[in-house]
Every structure is written in structure tokens, then in C-alpha cells.
């Protein structure tokens, strides 16, 4: 007859690790460990085929298969030297589900099976621990009752809670053995009442019923839903794993512990862990008794220690990765309860991967694949010192916008931040930030806002600066120079100057001053890993988004191979420039506007020269002016309110207004309405879809002209000094070829003029952002003129999904709960929707210009799954904020290694 039940234990097994279809994932793992000589508690796996037969056979397992189960049980009893249902030496088993694919927590498990009135008494005597025995029994009844007998769990809870009330105890652990015995009696009565039968005392009956219950749990609603979601076929069924339970609390020759084959915090190759003698697994983590370091085990149980070291070393060799293991020593016999690849910190992941490769355990390629790109964050940003953080009160939570730990005193305006920063570290707290706040963000250690999402202004700028940032902390109520939050039933007020700590990774805000640990991005392990990554990455480039020379230098240090996006408007917000920018906007005719632009020209030229120098030999993509002009002017509603307040304003308020608007106090009455009028003229209902991007350059060609002039004059000037300059001028927000042609003509004309005047030339390209669906679907026409494409995936996501990144937070929670989006589309590219538009643009663009350079400069450029996507669809590079460059490099290397298909890249 065909084999339906597979035994394992004692260094052998009927199955092996490859038989996941039949044994399920868990069963195959146990078979594999046992076969490898790892002493796992013995047991047997009832195959997935039996589950299928069970359902086909009207929820009954045929007798011949039951015979195989009993035979396997006999083998198990022989192996472990205990007998199921034997009061003198009772075998207890667990019965667990386990399908081909992991379905964590979706199906049922029964522990301590084999306990009945008699074996419980036996166990109490054997362990000399009646309380333990009764507690195990009452847990078993409850678990079995719920899973196998379909009794409402709440009914057990009700009995349990009543007894606790009667015994007047607070904690479950305060219940005595006597209390537990009373509970057991009540439980048994409940079972009798609900099933019209006594609780089954026959252990074999228990086993059969438990197995069938595990099979039935395949159709738990949550399991069925999970399969639907994960596209797991309904017909494959689950296996049932029956395994002996072992006990580390059977006296001083028993023990239990957990450990790692390397230090999960640092990655150092040391045997790491802790244990307790005469204890159960949960005692080690519960913290009631203080566990001993695992090295002590050598003194207490030298043989077991030696065996454990050998086993875990061989497990690491077998699985070729750091192992996280649990073990129990039952009366001198070592059992491995579990082993799995250990979770580790970022630094540990890097060091372990590098050292394992150097030891020859894994290849360099595997080492590169072993580190999750996101983990590098911990090597690139300060992190909190755990203990010091635990002492602080968590007062708010928002959206993690830029990682790292920041500590400082709260400042509530950009100007206040600048003032306060003179005396020490500052955190800038704003409802939302605008480009006006740049100088305040610049001096702050971290940024905290009440509104906005991952792609809000604060988030984008903070990531660019490598500054920790939390946005959308909606619980904060920000008023003048303070904010309040409700926390723990109380209202907490944080005033200007008070210390707060931000964790940009968890998005937690703490009251007070935590300690931070600085990162060591230049550790030799990190350097080695990145070098290997770059080898595998090949020609796929990683550039940085950088607007000023300082950021460009940082980007080079992080390994950026050029600038993929320089947002020229960020240069416009500096203190010395904004008056000229405003003059340009307020100009009533072209002549006045050109005069203001002339003032900006030398400043922009100097900036570009700095960027070119920093990027000597690498391309610099410079985008012409993008944001709507009203962003450079005071806010409309501020002006409206101040105008309403002006007739009754006192001297102080007038002075405030005067400074805010750069208008003399005496002129406020006359000039404020004029300013408001212009702001009203520029006001837009949907600025995202308004007069911005190339639309500015088309209505005010003199702006594009000035910027092109600054670029080429800087290029010529720097090139003469021997710097290799590669400018790429990028036109934003085009909807089709006509807008691009219009702007390109201006850029080319200026280049010609500048080169003629300088008597020298530099090679340059003119290309475009693809950030509007229309540009993507007409990309064949666009590419006839455009020499490169750069996907602006922030805006492309907004337009393709009809979703404002700043407003999405209003309903993102419900959307994520309902799984309407697979992930936050502003964090990871929506491959099914936006991706279709991107792929169409690439295909159309290459159809008319096969060698067109294609990259991405949206925020997604630093997201590992998006980097992998960009690689896969054939882009030439990604560009991201400087602090994410290493992450992108690693993600790109992993994509290249995983890439099995012929790449679409041509340039």
C-alpha cells in the first residue's frame, strides 16, 4: 500500500526536505533536520494526500490509513521510550497543521495531547510539579474543546475567569494546583453539556479527533480567505504533524534555552544565547528567572553543550546562514525544537554576510542577496539607544517619512528654529512645511508635521537632507509656539524649547531626550559589501537627487554616479534670492521680469558650477523651474486674515505683518491688498494640475532662457578649468511633443549663443520628465526630439491614480486595511497600474529612439522593490536622495543577480 504517514526522529526519516508537496513545509523541514542527524523530538507526518482523501471520503480517514498512523505511533513510542496514555510514563504529543505554502496562524494546533485524568496524575508525580501538570491538562481540554469539539472558547474563558474571581487572584500564575483542578472539573462538565459526551479519556481517540480537526481547519474562513488573497489553490490540503512533546523542567538534568550562531546585533561570529536549568521554554523569555549566558552551559552540562555547538554549527553549514535555534534538554537528552535563519540588525546582516562569504560558507553573490536593502538605513542614520528610549513617554505616532533618530528642542517656525539652533539641537514642528521653511529645516535635527504623507514637502526635503522626519502626526494640535496631544488619558503640552525625540523609522514621537548612537557607514564590512554589490550591478546606474553642491558632495560619498535630479527651484528659496524671485513674479511686464531674472542669473550659475565640480565626469540632470509661482509668495489665506485684522491691529501685530510680507508698516494698508490681488490671480484650485512645470517656461520663456544661460555659462566656465562637465537639461511636466519642442528650442538657442561667445562647446542633452500619462502614451512622438526620459513617479502616480499625495492620508488607512492598494503607492511603484503607463512609455520611446537614456527621479528611486522594478523594465538608472544611494545600489545589484531574462536595456 502507498505510504501516507512518514516517521522522523533518531537521525533518520521516511521523507526529506524536498517533499513539501506531500509533507507540507513543516513536515519536510522536520524530516530534513532529522535526516541531517539533528536530534529533533521524534514524530510522524500524516501527508497532505490524507487531507484530500478525508474531504473526498465524507470527512473520514479510511481504516487502512489509520492503521499506518497507529504503526507510526508505535514507532514514535519506541523511539522516545514513552507510551501515549500510559500514566506511568506518558507520551504527550503536539498535532500541528502544515501546508505546502506557509499560512502562518491560519489553521489549528493542539498541544499536550495524551493528557487525561490518569496521565495528568502521572505527569504530576513524574515532574514533581502538580501545578504544571494540571495547568497543562486544563490548557489541553480548552484547546481540544475549541478545535476538535467546536465549543465556543468564550465558555471556557468564562469558567476560568469565574474561578479566578472566586480565588481572588489577579494573575493566572497565582492560581494554585487546587484551583486548576476545580477548573478542570468545570471544563469537563462543560464538554459533557455541549457535546452530550464526556471529555475523551482515550488518548488514541484524542489523536484521531485532533488530526481530523487539523484537516478541517483547512477550511477555516480565515484560511480560505488567506488562500484566496495569496492565490494558494484550495485543493492542495494540509498535512498533520504529530510530534513528541519534551520537557526541560524534569529536574537538574533538564534545561531549555535559545541562541544564535552569530551575534544578531553585531554579526560577530560568537556563540550567542541563554538558558535555564529545570525550566520550560517560556520561562527563558518570561523574565521571572534570570537566564544564564549560553557559555555557562559548558560548565553545567558539558556533553550537551558540546553536542549543541556541533549541531548548531552543522545547522549553520547546512542552511548556509546564521541560525536562530531553540533547544530543550530532557533528562540529559538534547532536543532541537526549532532552527531558522536568524533575524538580525542591519549592521549584523552586513557583517555576517561579508564574513560568511569570506569564510567560504556562501558566495559573494549570495552575500549581496543576504542583506535587505532597507536594512542599510541603520548604517546610514543615527539610531536610538534602546534602554534610554524605554524611559521616555511615547506621545504620538505619525507616518515614517525619513528614517533615523533625532533629539532636540521643539521650535514652531523656521525662524524660531534658526534662533533656537544657536543654543543646541532643534526639532522643527509644523502643521506642514512649505518651501518657505527650508532654512528652518536646514538647521533642525529632525522634522515633525501634523499633516501630509510620505511624499509631502517635509518628507521629500527631509529625505534629501538625510534628516529624520515624521509627518501626518494628526493627533498633534499645533497652536502658537506649542502643541498638545492626548496621551494616556491626559493632555500633554509641549512648548517651545522642550526636548522631544523622534524615531523616523517607527514614526514614534517621545517626550524628553533620548540617547542616540551614531552610525558607522564606512565600516570595512559595509565597504566590502557595497563593492561586491557594484560588481554585480553592472551598467545599471544609481544617481542622486541633489540641489546644492553640499548635497552633491554627500551623494558622491555615498557612491552616486551623477545627479539624476537637480530641482532648480530649491535654489530660489534662499534668503538672498527670494526677494528677486518675488520681484520676478510680481513684475507686471516682461522687461521688469527680465530685470529680476538677471539678478538671479549669477546665483544660479554659481550653484550649477558647484554641482558640475562635485560631479566631475558624471552627468548632472538639471530640471527647469517646476513649482507653481504662488509657492514663492505668501499664503492667500494668511493675507486674507491679516487684511481682515489690519484695521484693528496693534503695533506689535503690524510689525509682525511687516516682517512677514517685507512691507513697511506705513505701507501695509496700501500694499497688502495689492499683494493679495496678485496672490489671488495666481491662486489655483488644484495646484498640482495647474500652471507649473514647462507651462511656466512656455508662458514665461525668459525664465527657461535665464536658467539655460546659467547652466551653459557655468558649464563652459568649469570645463575651462579641466572639469568634465555633462549637463542634461530636463523639461518638467510635458504632456506631449509640442511643449518639449518649444522649450528645447530655447535651450538649444541659448547653448549656441553661450558656446559662440565662449569659443568652446560642451556636450549636453535635452530631455524630459515623464510624469503625466499623456506624455507616456505619446512617448514615441516625444522621443523624436527628447534625448532622455526621466520618470517623475511622484506626479505620475498622482495623475495615473487620480490621487493627491498630500490628501491621500485622509483615507489611506481604510485603503490599506481593505488592501485596495498592495502598498503605499507613493512609497513603492504601483506596478499594476502606474507600471503599465511606465512600460508603455519605455516601449514607445525606444520605438523611435532605441538608445534613449531612461531613468527615474521620483521618490521611488530609493525604494528597493521599485529599484528592482526599474531594473526589470529596462531603465538605465535610478536616482534617489543621497542617503538612499547605498540602498539603491544594493537593490540594483540584487535585481541584476536575480535577473534571468534578457534585459531590455540598450544604452
Amino acid at each position: 500500500m502507498k505510504t501516507y504517514v512518514y516517521s522522523f526522529g533518531g537521525g533518520t526519516s521516511d521523507g526529506d526536505g524536498k517533499m513539501k508537496d506531500i509533507l507540507g513545509g513543516k513536515g519536510a523541514g522536520l524530516a530534513e533536520m532529522s535526516r541531517a542527524g539533528v536530534p529533533v523530538p521524534p514524530g510522524f507526518t500524516i501527508s497532505t494526500e490524507v487531507c484530500t482523501i478525508y474531504f473526498q471520503n465524507n470527512n473520514r480517514v479510511p481504516d487502512e490509513i489509520n492503521q499506518q498512523v497507529l504503526a507510526a505511533l508505535g514507532k514514535l513510542e519506541a523511539r522516545i521510550g514513552k507510551k501515549l496514555g500510559d500514566p506511568a510514563n506518558p507520551l504527550l504529543v503536539s498535532v500541528r497543521s502544515g501546508a505546502r505554502f506557509s499560512m502562518p496562524g491560519m489553521m489549528n494546533t493542539i498541544l499536550n495531547l495524551g493528557l487525561n485524568d490518569a496521565t495528568t496524575a502521572g505527569l504530576a508525580a513524574l515532574t514533581n510539579n502538580p501545578r504544571f501538570a494540571y495547568d497543562s491538562y486544563r490548557r489541553f481540554i480548552q484547546m481540544f474543546g475549541e478545535v476538535a469539539l467546536d465549543i465556543d472558547m468564550e465558555k471556557f474563558d468564562h469558567i476560568f475567569d469565574s474561578r479566578k474571581a472566586k480565588a481572588k487572584v489577579e494573575l493566572d500564575t497565582d492560581l494554585t494546583a487546587k484551583d486548576l483542578q476545580a477548573i478542570i472539573e468545570d471544563y469537563k462538565k462543560l464538554v459533557q453539556k455541549e457535546t452530550k459526551k464526556p471529555f475523551p479519556q482515550d488518548a488514541t481517540t484524542q489523536l484521531v479527533m485532533a488530526r481530523d480537526a487539523v484537516f478541517r481547519s483547512w477550511w477555516n474562513p480565515k484560511a480560505a480567505y488567506y488562500r484566496k488573497m495569496e492565490k494558494i489553490p484550495d485543493e492542495i490540503g494540509t498535512a498533520a504533524n504529530v510530534q513528541a512533546m519534551v520537557f526541560g523542567n524534569l529536574g537538574d538534568t533538564s534545561a531549555t534555552g535559545v541562541g544564535f550562531t552569530r551575534d544578531p546585533g553585531s554579526g560577530e561570529k560568537v556563540f550567542y544565547g541563554e538558558f535555564l536549568v529545570n525550566a520550560q521554554g517560556e520561562d527563558v523569555v518570561a523574565g521571572i528567572r534570570t537566564p544564564l549566558p549560553i557559555s555557562e552551559l559548558e560548565n553545567v552540562m558539558p556533553a550537551s553543550y558540546k553536542q549543541l555547538r556541533e549541531i548548531t554549527t552543522s545547522l549553520e553549514n547546512h542552511y548556509r546562514d546564521m541560525q536562530d535555534f531553540e533547544f530543550t534538554i530532557e533528562e540529559g537528552t538534547l532536543y532541537m525544537l526549532q532552527t531558522r535563519n536568524g533575524k538580525r540588525t542591519g549592521p549584523a546582516a552586513v557583517r555576517a554576510a561579508v564574513e560568511m562569504a569570506e569564510e567560504g560558507l556562501i558566495t559573494k553573490k549570495e552575500a549581496v542577496l543576504r542583506v535587505a536593502p532597507q536594512q542599510l538605513d541603520q548604517l546610514l542614520h543615527p539610531v536610538f539607544d534602546g534602554p534610554s528610549l524605554k524611559k521616555l513617554q511615547l506621545i504620538a505616532n505619525g507616518i515614517a517619512a525619513s528614517p533615523g533618530a533625532a533629539v532636540g528642542r521643539a521650535a514652531f517656525s523656521a525662524d524660531d528654529a534658526v534662533e533656537l539652533a544657536k543654543g543646541g539641537p532643534v526639532i522643527l514642528v509644523r502643521k506642514e512645511t512649505t518651501p518657505d521653511d527650508i532654512h528652518g529645516m536646514d538647521v533642525s535635527k529632525g522634522i515633525l508635521t501634523a499633516v501630509g504623507g510620505k511624499s509631502s514637502h517635509a518628507a521629500v526635503v527631509a529625505r534629501g537632507m538625510g534628516r529624520p522626519c515624521i509627518v501626518g502626526a494628526g493627533a498633534m494640535n499645533i497652536a502658537a509656539k506649542q502643541f498638545t496631544v492626548a496621551s494616556g488619558g491626559k493632555t500633554i503640552t509641549v512648548k517651545e524649547g522642550e526636548w522631544i525625540s523622534l524615531d523616523g523609522t517607527t514614526a514614534n514621537v517621545y517626550l524628553g531626550k533620548a540617547q542616540t548612537n551614531e552610525p558607522d557607514p564606512n565600516s570595512s564590512y559595509f565597504g566590502k559589501l557595497m563593492k561586491w554589490a557594484d560588481e554585480f550591478r553592472g551598467s545599471f546606474g544609481v544617481r542622486a537627487n541633489a540641489d546644492i553642491p553640499r548635497d552633491a558632495k554627500a551623494a558622491r560619498l555615498f557612491g552616486a554616479e551623477g545627479i539624476g535630479l537637480c530641482r532648480t527651484e530649491h535654489m530660489f528659496f534662499a534668503e538672498d534670492r527670494i526677494p528677486h524671485v518675488q520681484a520676478m513674479i510680481l513684475a507686471s511686464d516682461e522687461k521688469t521680469r527680465k530685470k529680476a531674472l538677471q539678478k538671479l542669473l549669477p546665483m544660479q550659475r554659481a550653484d550649477f558650477a558647484g554641482l558640475f565640480k562635485a560631479m566631475d565626469g558624471f552627468p548632472v540632470v538639471i530640471r527647469t523651474l517646476d513649482p507653481p509661482l504662488h509657492e514663492f509668495l505668501p499664503k492667500r489665506e494668511d493675507l486674507m486674515v491679516d487684511l481682515a485684522r489690519l484695521p484693528h491691529a496693534d503695533a506689535k501685530l503690524k510689525k509682525e505683518m511687516s516682517e512677514k510680507y517685507r512691507i513697511k508698516v506705513g505701507e501695509l494698508k496700501k500694499s497688502l491688498p495689492v499683494l493679495l490681488h496678485r496672490v489671488e490671480e495666481l491662486h489655483e484650485f488644484n495646484p498640482m494640475l495647474g500652471h507649473r512645470g514647462c507651462r511656466l517656461g512656455i508662458t514665461y520663456p525668459e525664465i527657461t532662457e535665464m536658467q539655460a544661460r546659467a547652466i551653459f555659462e557655468a558649464a563652459v566656465q568649469v570645463a575651462k578649468k579641466g572639469v568634465k562637465v555633462i549637463p542634461e537639461v530636463m523639461i518638467p511636466l510635458i504632456g506631449g511633443s509640442k511643449e518639449f519642442e518649444h522649450q528645447k528650442a530655447i535651450v538649444d538657442q541659448v547653448a549656441k549663443d553661450v558656446f559662440a561667445k565662449a569659443g568652446t562647446k560642451v556636450h549636453y542633452m535635452v530631455g524630459t520628465m515623464i510624469e503625466i500619462p499623456r506624455a507616456a502614451v505619446t512617448a514615441d512622438e516625444v522621443a523624436k526630439q527628447a534625448e532622455f526620459f526621466s520618470f517623475g513617479t511622484n506626479d505620475l502616480t498622482q495623475t495615473t491614480m487620480g490621487l493627491s499625495r498630500d490628501d491621500y492620508t485622509k483615507f489611506s488607512k481604510q485603503y490599506e486595511d481593505l488592501k485596495i492598494f498592495k502598498a503605499d503607492p507613493f512609497a513603492s511603484i504601483d506596478q499594476e497600474g502606474v507600471g503599465k503607463i511606465i512600460e508603455m512609455a519605455i516601449q514607445l520611446g525606444r520605438s523611435t529612439r532605441p538608445d534613449i537614456e531612461i531613468g527615474i527621479c521620483g521618490e521611488h528611486g530609493g525604494d528597493p522593490s521599485s529599484v528592482e522594478y526599474c531594473y526589470r523594465v529596462g531603465m538605465n538608472y535610478v536616482s534617489c536622495s543621497p542617503y538612499r544611494v547605498p540602498i539603491a545600489r544594493l537593490a540594483a545589484a540584487q535585481a541584476a543577480i536575480s535577473d534571468k531574462s534578457e534585459s531590455m536595456r540598450t544604452a
Copy 2:
């Protein structure tokens, strides 16, 4: 030798109407007319091939071709009985360009060729009109000088203006023959100075030079640009047409006139026009002498009149359309100078087309094609009485948003409009309108706004109401109860109650009260034409966008076959509902929200019942709630300003605020900040891309549930009374299948509940708007569940182009001047961009649901070229505002008639 020159005239011609390639459009037309026996002034056409040869041959025409030209000239001289350059009886000719494709005004023309010192004197004697002769000569020198001799036009102008100053005259016509002779002398000196040669006195030389100049004008920069734009090949070249000039001012046996074969104002079949004896063509239109009605010609020159009637009748028969003709009688000989299909008013177009079909001149199909759909506007809306309008001052111009003429007194708020309307017609004047203004729009004859574009709220609602509307009249400065505009150097103030007149077709605003003529949409001609149109339209449907039963009834009268879009939110703005809507929005929990919704349920149900009754037997597409909730609340900036004003507010202002916000005066201080807080919470940066559409139904499923309940309860209730109810529930703004499934589940559940309770069922469909690119590119998935698609082309245009319809007006002028868009994309579907997305959605949708019903409900549904597009790409119907239904019906019929390809439509 090959023929290069084609003569015409005297009832014969060498070429014919089909030879456009060789003769150009004009030449072929002249040949055709001549061949048909129409007495055109004789002449000859130098073929386009000569132009090509001219350029290939180093800008010279070979001698053998020149010989053909001279031969043709001889033939012409013989035909007309005059000789080129003969002082006794001089032949004057025109030399005109004429390419295969019409390129109006792009190339050059020379008139009066043949004049020199001697022939001018001869002409003066012959016509007994020396002033005419000298004026003709000086015009010829100027035209020839500029075109053939490349002399700067300004230099001629300078001479002319100096002479005028010297003669102290204001008008050109005040110059005497003597003055003109002096100018001629100056002109000739200028020619000598510029060309170092005298002005050519030899007429044949003049002819050759003029011909070559016409050829060269093929490469005028504007002509080259025009060809590029219109994709006309550069190599086809132009023909040159040489034609005798004839004169109607050679005495009392000469005359000149213009006319139509039918009345171009009414379409009535009467001989229509006017003439002058002894006059030139321009005298008829100049208004110096009063022309006589053309019937008078019968008395004055009976033979010519008879000939003219015969000719024009045969021309109408030949061209099978109403002709607009010009004629000259030179000394008893009739010449037809031009004939073309006559422009006509909308009513005339309809009547002429119907009558021509009934006369058998054209087929019914042709009659349907003869009327431009847009022309029907004039039959559906009041129009101004021309003379009465001329008396008024034009004070502003905006964007034509809804056609028709409106006259009324200015009101500056919706409430004021309601008040004022009790005393007579009102025009509502607003900076922009919001849904709050509906009651004011409803009582107004027309709507005028200072901001917004063709798809702004005012425009959309006004079109829906069939009310004339002008938007974006940016010159208006609107203050409390008045507006000012600068006009003619002065500032004009229009106060509440003053009369203004709006022309919604031209977008002109006039000060004062014009007369209007009411339309007659039910004239028998209109009815017949629409009946024929519907026969050809076939199964392609035309539905109406209608929100309330009154509009639905109007839609039926206009021939709508169902409702393609009912915007349920429009029902929410009514006076009796808005408080409940606000209560729903301000509710802090689901229970309170549901209570408010319960109040709205019976109101919505009654509305839907009304719609179903009006559309008995036709489908009614009802869209669930779409706009962001903040649209139902007061404006944020109003609240901010009022809050700032509150501390100093007097009793009157407080009362105003109290009414505005429905808050008691005593509670303003407490409640205003609370209201502002909620408004702040709902505030969005880009409301278009924010929390609206199905996103509302997903976060507040109880809203969808209430609306579905109202729909199905109404459907069941009305169906029981024998009405055939066909509800189609439409989910707005989905980005993919998951959102749709979520909302459909709610709708289906409610339907099931309602049907169970009622004990009856009605057939219904659940479908979706396609108005976000992501929905379009995943339409295959969406169509698995969705039973119909309706393109929301307003939003789809906004998202695909990244262009806010309300903000586009900021730069639309530049974009249109630069021809970046072929047309306003919010008026006509952008077929190259948005069209690609639409076609993708249709193709993907039909790939998973071949019989899916597909329509359009955006504003484009009433635009003829968009209707043609919708037909061509295989949609099943269009839906538009009721007043555009006839236009859409006609456009659809024309599309069906023109459709040569197999249709993609399947349902």
C-alpha cells in the same frame, strides 16, 4: 510638347474640376465653371508643374513654357477683346496663387496687372474716372513692388502717409486724382532707388515677373509653416492663375452685385441679394451708396437679370447647395466673379437642407450632413436681435460656456438673485459659482463669472440648465454688489439692478438691455431633419445628463433615450437638504451619520422615482456621491476671515455671519472655531485628486448604502405602478477593480434586501465611471465585475493631461496661440492623448466582457467632433446636457453616415 498652360473662358476650358493636382484648387474651379457655361472672366492657369520646374531650373521658367503662356495670353486677349498694354483698350489681369490644398492668405496675389503710365491714361479716359485709374495704378505699383520687387511695404506706406498729411486729409478716399498722381511719381522714384531700375512699363514683363513672384511665395515663411502644421507636402508647388479683370463701373450698362440662391437668414427659397449700377464690387459692401434689392435688376437690365437667374440656378444645381455669388456686368456683359456654397444661419441651414432634399436636389443623407451640429444651438436658445445689440456698449469678453442670449439685471449673490428675480429677469454675476449658488442660478436668465473655464461649475451647471453663461471674464473686478471693468479707457461700474446683456455664443458682455428673439426648436424643418438623423443614427444612443425630474422631462422632449448621468449630489444642495448633509458630514460617529442619512433617504427616493417616471422604458444611470465633502460646507478662507473679524464685528456683521453659517449670534464665538476645525480637517491641497468619488463610499459605506436603498426603493415603488424602470448604478472615480468590487457588494446587498422586502425585483446593472488613467489601463480586470463603463472625460482629461480644468484658463491663451493643443481639450476630446487611454479601456474592457455597454457622460458628450470620435471608437452611446441632445443626435447621425469601417460596437 506637354501642356503647361490651361486656358478657360467663353464656355470652354482646357482643364476641368478634377485636375486639382495640376491646376490647383482655384484653377480647377475656374475650369469647371467655364466648362459648365458660366461666364467667368476668361484667363489661363499656369500649372503647378511649372512651379516645380521653376525651382528646379534655378528660378527660371524655360522659354518653351513662356511661349505657351504668351499663346494663352493671346487667346485671352482675343476672347475679351482687349490687349495687354494697349492704351486704347487695355486688358488688366490678376495673377493669383492656388495650390492643390487650400492655404488661405499664405501666398501672394497681384491685381490690376497691365497698368503703366500709358494704359492708366487710357483707362482714365475709357472709364471717365481718372481718380479710379490713378488709384488702381498706385495700388498696382505698391502690390507689385512689394511682391515682385521685394520692396519693404512700409516704405510705400510712408510715402502715402506723407502725401496724406500734406493734403491734410483724414481718409484715403479724400485724396484727389492729383494727389494720387503725385504718389505714383513718388512710388516710381522709390522703385528706381530700391531696384536701380525704373518701374517696368512693359506689361508682358510685368506678367512674367508677377508669375515668378507668385511661385516664390510658395516658400514664404508663413506658407512653409502652414504646410508643416497642416502636413501639406513641400514639393507639390502652386499654380498661377491669370485672369482678366472686369469693371462694373464703365457707365450705366455696367453694374456689380452679390447674392444668394436662398435666404441665408431663413433658408427660404428666394433670390436674395443686392446690386449697384456703375459701381465696383467694394462699393456694394462699403455702404457709401445704398444698393438696390436684386429684384430691381430685372427692371434695370432684364436680359442680364434673366441670365443671372439662370446661371445661379444652374450653379445651385451643379454644386447641389445654396450658392453665394458675386457678379459684375461690364458694358452689358455678365461675368460671374465667384460662386461658393453660402454661409447661413442655423435655422437657414436646417430649412435649406430639408427643402433641398424635398426638392430632390440632394438626398436625405446629404441633408443630414449639410447642417453643422453646432448650428442647432441657434434653434435651441434665444438669440440677440442684431440691430438692438449694435446700440449697446461691449464692456467685457470672457469664455463662451453656454450659448444663447440673456438679458437681465445684475445680481451679485444667489440670495440677491432670488430676491431680484421677483421683479423681473436677472443675470447672476459671481467671481465663480459653487454648488451653494444653485438656487440663484436657477432663477437667473444668464450667468457671468470672472474666473473658471469651460468646465467650471458655472459652465457645467448652466449648460445643464440650458442657461446662457460666460465664464472667466477676468477683466471684471467684482466687489460688494457691483463690478467694474476698464472699457474704452474708462472705468465702468455696474451696480446691482443695472441691465446687462450676455451673448453666450460670442462670450460678449454688453451694458444695457438688448432685444432677444426666441427660438423655435419645434419648427417642422427641425423636426424633419432630426427624424432623418435618427434614422441614420441607428443603434448608437444619445442620453442626457439630468439630475432632477424637471431636467429629465426636458431631456425627453429633446429626444434623449435615457439618462446617462444623474449626479446625485446636485440633489443634496437644495435648501431643505443641505442642513442634513452638513449634519452628516459633521457627525463624529457612524451612528449620528446614519441618522442624518435617514433624513435624506426619502428625499432622494422621491427624486429617483421622478426620474424613473420621466424615463419610462429608458435607462437611468445614477452615480453615487462624487464631490469632496468640503464642497457642502462653508469655505475655509471665509471662515478664517470671519473668525478674524468676529472680535470687532458689529451687530450687522454678526447677523450676516449667523445667517451664512446657520449659527445663532450668541454661539458664533464658540461654534465658529469648531466649524473651522472640521473644515480644516476636510481641507485638501488638490481636491480634484482627493477624498471624493468612490473613496467616500469606501470610507463611509453607509452613504452608498443609503443611496442604493433610495434607488431600489424608488425603482420598486414606480415599477409597481407599471413604469418600466431600468436603473444603472454607477460608481465614480475608481482606480481599479478592488474599489469597484467593494462598492458593488454594498449595492447588490441593498438590492437583495429591498427586493426581498418588496416581494418583487427589477433588473438593474452596476457599472463604473472610467475617469482615471489607472482604471483605463486595468479595465480588463474592472470589466470582470462591471456591467457598464461610462467615460468621465472631464476628469479623465484632467488626470491624463495633468491639467486642472479650472486652472487651465491661466495659460490657455498662450497654449492655444502656440497650437500646443489642437483645440480646448475640455471642449473636444484630445484624441491623440486622452483618446489613447479611452481606446485602451474599450479594448481591455471588451476583452473580458465583450458585450459591455460603453458610453460617455463627460461634457464632451455634446461636442460634435467628440461624438464622432465616440462613435468611431465603438461606444454605445453619448450623454450630454439636455439642450445639446439634438446636437449630439445630429453629430451621431453624421458619424454613422461617414462610417466606412466595420463598427467596433457589439452591444
